[in-house]
Amino acid sequence: MKKKVIIVDDSIAVARQLEKIIAESDEFEVLAQARNGAEAIKLYQGKKPDIVCMDMNMPLMDGLTALRTLLALDRSAKVVMITSLGGVGDKYTEALKLGARDVISKPFQPEDVLRVLRAL
């Protein structure tokens, strides 16, 4: 059975890229998409996905705040952060400390995303 993924990103372009990578794999499928952290939390509670792929820098509610909230709701949530700030050590380690399973830096290649998702 394919693992169900929620994509959370305010960028249509990035969400499209991720959707394509995931849809073309045999192991994962995109269940739904959200454009900010607040939408992601509602979606997570309703859909109960296996994996959340979430941007860090978003309007309304940023990714780290949403990560903290999601994990407070469900300690076992598997969240992967996707960010252009992966090279900032404090941001990268803050995401891991909060409980993100991994951090993918932008720009990413399909194999980067699939390698991380398969390892979860």
Partner: protein
């Protein structure tokens, strides 16, 4: 393809685990004391002094040590002693990884050399910035990494134009901006004509043909390129000691004028037919 820090590089290469990195970071946090904590551990200041400095920092933008000088809590010599102590005792992430047994001491130099080679393409090349512009090196980083992103991500062929001071930035087919906060207060602006907008969209969406894409998607791709460029600029700036955060990207509809209390820089990228410019609008702090 990005500016990275050593711990991230080692995780991506499968050399260390997430848990190993977190242990090393926790060790760093316990050893690498902030200025105030270090000064207190040296018996130079008290908890009450730290509270006074924090209160004063709410109304004046000054580093902890400088504020201690301003308030007469520390002498200049004492401040230097604290800084020197911080430097001597600083535990780098590689050393911390060895201490928590995430990597072997004998392998550290090899991993560092491989990391250096991986990051060599992101070494900053000189860009001439007009005299008198504050934080000139930061804008060199911004310009050079922007050029590199256009070359490597978009595959755009261009010639770097000379950086000039400007009072305003003209309209273009797409103009987008990101606010930078922290050590500097500035707005990074990316302005592109339609042909380059489409080339960016092809690169970001990884599609051969974007002619049927709605304008919203094409503009979004330009914002994403800017997001990638700014993320890399911030990562490099942080390595140089700056503390900078970025806000989400926005579309700019109105013409942009240089801030009354600051300045603006223009970095043109000359192409055969298209107009591409990076603008930096710097507020005086």
């Amino acid at each position: 393809m990005a500016v990275k820090f050593f711990g991230q590089y080692l995780i991506e290469k499968g050399v260390v685990s997430r848990e190993g990195l977190l242990k090393a970071v926790a060790l760093q946090d316990s050893v690498n004391l902030k200025f105030g904590d270090m000064a207190r551990s040296m018996g130079l200041i008290t908890d009450a002094d730290i509270d006074r400095v924090h209160d004063a920092q709410k109304t004046k933008d000054q580093h902890f040590g400088e504020m201690c000088l301003s308030l007469g809590i520390l002498t200049k010599e004492q401040m230097q002693q604290v800084l020197a102590r911080q430097k001597v005792t600083h535990l780098y992430i590689g050393e911390a990884l060895v201490k928590v047994n995430a990597i072997r001491d004998e392998d550290l130099a090899r991993h560092l050399a491989a990391f250096k080679a991986d990051q060599a393409p992101y070494a900053v090349e000189a860009v001439a910035i007009p005299k008198g512009v504050p934080h000139a090196y930061l804008w060199e980083i911004a310009a050079d990494l922007s050029y590199k992103m256009f070359s490597r991500v978009v595959n755009l062929t261009f010639r770097r134009g000379a950086c000039t001071s400007i009072t305003s930035m003209d309209r273009n087919d797409v103009v987008v901006a990101m606010q930078m906060h922290g050590t500097v207060e500035a707005r990074y602006v990316l302005s592109v004509s339609a042909g380059v907008r489409d080339q960016i969209a092809r690169a970001i969406l990884k599609e051969q043909d974007v002619s049927k894409e709605p304008r919203e998607v094409l503009v979004d791709a330009v914002m994403e390129l800017m997001n990638i460029a700014c993320g890399n600029i911030v990562a490099k700036a942080v390595q140089m000691g700056y503390a900078i955060e970025i806000a989400p990207p926005v579309i700019v509809a109105a013409p942009l004028a240089a801030p009354a209390s600051g300045c603006a820089l223009l970095f043109p990228l000359h192409t055969a037919e298209e107009r591409v410019e990076v603008g930096i609008f710097i507020e005086k702090k």
